[in-house]
């Protein structure tokens, strides 16, 4: 199997780490009793997808701050781009200067 280019490898390591952290956070919020790795990266957070409600959205913001040390400016998940699991991963990586 071909090795990935170095710059991509570094990005993917950051991405996989952030994805694992976000999956763990979301699994605890939705009381997901399966393997967090089964949470699809592009699954929507609200309505279709994970089915979060407005209270869960607040929990996501609090969880990001307490568990991951990331405070996002604002309280509207939609305006913050948090519409999918990957949307949360993007926010985490941006806050860490990895995106």
């Amino acid at each position: 199997m071909n090795a990935l280019p170095n710059d991509i490898t570094v990005y993917l390591e950051h991405r996989e780490r952030a994805l694992a952290e976000v999956r763990k956070l979301l699994a605890s919020i939705i009381n997901f009793d399966g393997d967090p790795n089964d949470i699809d990266p592009d699954a929507g957070l609200f309505g279709t997808g994970l089915g979060l409600d407005s209270l869960d959205a607040v929990e996501v913001l609090i969880g990001l701050e307490i568990d991951l040390g990331i405070k996002l400016e604002g309280d509207d998940p939609m305006k913050l781009g948090l519409r999918s699991v990957n949307g949360v991963v993007d926010a985490v990586m941006r806050a860490r200067g990895e995106l």
Partner: protein, 349 residues
Amino acid sequence: MSLASEVSAIRSSAGLSRSAHIVIVRVDGAGALDFLQTASTQSPYMREGRVRHTLLLKDDASLLADAFIVNIDDGFLVIAEGPSEAALVQWLEQLRDRAGAKNVTVRGTSEEWTTFGVDGPYAWEVAAAFMGPTTLGQPYLTLSRREDMMCLRAGKTGEYGYLLMVPRPNEKDAEAKLHEIGKPLDLVTVTREALDVCALENWHFSMRQLRKTDFVKTVLTPIELQLQWRVVYTREFAGVEALRARRAEGPKARVTCFTCSAPIAPGQRVRLAGMDGDIGEVLASCDSPTLGQTVGSVLLDIRVAHPHITFTAGEHEIRTCTASLVDNKSLRIQPHKHSYATRNEVVTA
């Protein structure tokens, strides 16, 4: 009317479609719930009028149907995209016979019902005028009824979406009434193609995005298609053994959203600079009138199936991205506050 105009209507007002691609099958009998437990990737156990968005899988865990299951009148409706009505009835009957559920009846409803779809940020105004004001507060994934009509709130465009089920003899009157209601709302008749473009723009799965691919040497399952949120692995249902086996061995590929400044055809192989060989294949793509670029889904080697990576696709570059790309108006429009007549007052940025 052009495809772009139809998509624009779905994104700004409302689009009316004939839902001939959707089949509705009724499942009744004392053992209907237990039987459907063996057919659906999610449990159909729910209150009357509730709707479950689920999947029906073949034995190899590939997709047979993208389905809603509705609990209604001590029985169930299976509202599906993918197979024809006859094929879905046959599949359910075979499964029923395999399960020994002799007291369960399965029948198609195409001779009894016709269905219309209404999608758009102001689709709720059309649905409420047609079905009655309680539709204004109808929650997502529920069914409401009025006299002999039914209304399912779901939608796969990122905007408000309603599926209206009308008795077949009333079809023409219903269509005329919908157009009459929709006139002041600039309601437009839209095609299935426009709905498919909106689905892809918003990264909603559609059975019509599926195509045969030999990039991976196996069928595509909910794992590769990012549809595991509709699967409960601890349940027993058709296809679960193959799905569990795929999960145990780990996915080799996963679909990811991409954009491109040029048209890219499905089937186009993609590569990563600095690597030999193909690393993915475009599954579906469309010219997005909303975004002004090509949007699609690409099946990628699992190692690189993430957003924000640039690949080469023939002579062009595609870039994976985080879905959804569309800033849907419906996210800012609330039926109890807004109306199409006052649409210019809604902040859209």
